[in-house]
């Protein structure tokens, strides 16, 4: 008997089949209608969106909509090709100029998704004789970039500069001249904690390693002009490569990498996830460009962090076991048991609040979470409504005393 290629997924399939079918299945949510950045109709019910990474509420910004509509009419629905063949339009060049200006750097490359940006940059920069050193809580796109490349991959304990330093010392002892790329994230998406970039990057620099920071969850949210955590911490000079996404604060889809490395543009020739995929549609490029301009001068991040503090504090005061502190737009409560978390999620849906059910292996330390990613577009009334429903469901399920 030959092997059924799906046999290896049997445990996953069994777990999935224990979940209810239909509207209470957490992995088949479908938005019937989207009303605004913070509200949608799901299963015929008006629902507050509390877990959509729409940090700045840019998806319905009038100026972004207008820019996208104009580009759609002028340049069509898609480019039908790679950036290196027919897929580079004027808009892509303008967007890269905007990014250079936004980050005050020499070079910027736009990718079709944030996932592809990490995949491409990590897999391409670190070759067979090089090392990639990654944080243990890294996003899947970072792990996958490592798998796709040919470098030796080393993992250090989450946000622990001493642990990183120890690993860099061992590499240098064995391989004094090897190229090393250290990869960290500005904000870690599940628990919203920030990397101590200064300490981590200082350890990296001591051992002549390059530093890549993924600011996917921090662009727009942190720093005086919204560049992210490195700007917030005043350590941009220690960062060699910044990766990010347009799919959160920027309100559309796409990824980027910026750098001051003089040879950076060579990536356009050798980075396969850049070369062998179609470029972003013109309307997406135009709205991303407009959103970046708006984010730079906006004070929306102040409102966003006020929202997060309000919900984090409310939940902590109510007695929840908190995974987050309010230092980022992520709000997460820890639920002891995975199936209680599923039940919690279902009850929140019935109460008209969409949050993320986050369970291992997507979460660190085997945690099950009810996770929110808030928006500057949420009103305090909406935040208070979420809080009230969190408490109601918590009492019902015995999560709160």
């Amino acid at each position: 008997m030959t092997t059924d290629l799906f046999e290896k997924f049997q445990n996953t399939i069994n777990d999935y089949n224990k979940l209810p079918k239909g509207e209470l299945n957490p992995f088949t949510v479908s938005m019937d209608k989207v009303i605004s950045p913070t509200e949608a109709i799901i299963n015929g019910r008006k629902t507050i969106l509390a877990g959509t990474n729409n940090y700045m509420g840019m998806t319905y910004n009038e100026e972004c909509l207008k820019a996208a509509e104009e580009a759609l009419r002028s340049f069509g629905t898609g480019t039908t090709g790679s950036r290196v063949l027919n897929g580079t339009y004027n808009g892509h060049k303008i967007l890269e100029e905007t990014l250079k200006n936004f980050y005050d750097v020499d070079h910027a490359i736009v990718f079709s998704t944030g996932y592809q940006a990490n995949l491409g940059v990590i897999a391409t920069l670190a070759g067979p004789n090089d090392y990639v050193v990654i944080d243990s809580d890294s996003h899947a796109s970072i792990y996958d970039g490592c798998s796709m490349g040919n470098a030796t991959v080393i993992r250090f304990a989450h946000n622990d500069p001493d642990n990183l330093e120890k690993r860099l010392e061992r590499i240098r002892r064995k391989d004094p001249d090897a190229g090393i790329l250290v990869v960290i994230e500005g904000v870690y998406s599940m628990l919203g904690d920030q990397a101590p970039i200064k300490e981590l990057a200082t350890a990296a620099k001591k051992h002549h390693a390059y530093v890549l920071v993924d600011e996917a969850h921090s662009i727009g949210v942190f720093g005086k002009t919204g560049r992210g955590v490195a700007q917030e911490q005043g350590v941009e000079h220690l960062v060699d490569f910044t990766v990010g996404t347009f799919s959160k604060s920027v309100g559309t889809v796409g990824g980027y990498c910026v750098s001051n490395h003089p040879q950076f543009e060579a990536l356009r020739l050798v980075c396969r996830p850049y070369v062998f995929t179609a470029s972003l549609p013109p309307s997406v490029v135009a709205s991303a460009n407009k959103a970046l301009e708006l984010i730079k001068d906006s004070n929306l991040r102040v409102k966003l962090l006020e929202n997060s503090k309000r919900l984090n504090k409310g939940l902590a005061d109510a007695g929840f076991n908190m995974g987050t502190t309010g230092e980022s737009p992520i709000v997460a409560i820890i639920i002891d048991e995975k199936f209680t978390a599923v039940e919690y999620w279902q009850n929140m849906m019935l109460e008209g609040v969409y949050v993320n059910l986050a369970v291992p292996p997507a979460t660190p330390n085997n945690l099950s979470l009810m996770r929110c990613s808030l928006s500057a577009a949420h009103t305090f009334e909406q935040i208070d409504y979420m809080l009230e429903r969190f408490i109601k469901v918590g009492k019902k399920l015995g999560v709160l005393a």
């Binding site: 490592c146 080393i154 064995k174």
Partner: protein, 82 residues
Amino acid sequence: MTQSTTEIFDQISDLMAPFNTKSINIKPDTSFATDLELDSLSVMDMLAAIEDHFDITVPLNILPDLETVGQVAEAVKSILEE
């Protein structure tokens, strides 16, 4: 000083304690996935403990080849001898 595979195996068995939640008797053919029911993240955490104990670099690249505790002991031995 060169260590034998048995000596290395014994040390690894001790390091496994926090990951051996079912308290099974660890033998060279004990497998991470089937016997210890460890997911890939736990196996990586375990490797980190091994790295620090032996003061070596264990690249994640070799993970797909490590199914049993005995195979890890062999891998550590060859890294120590490099």
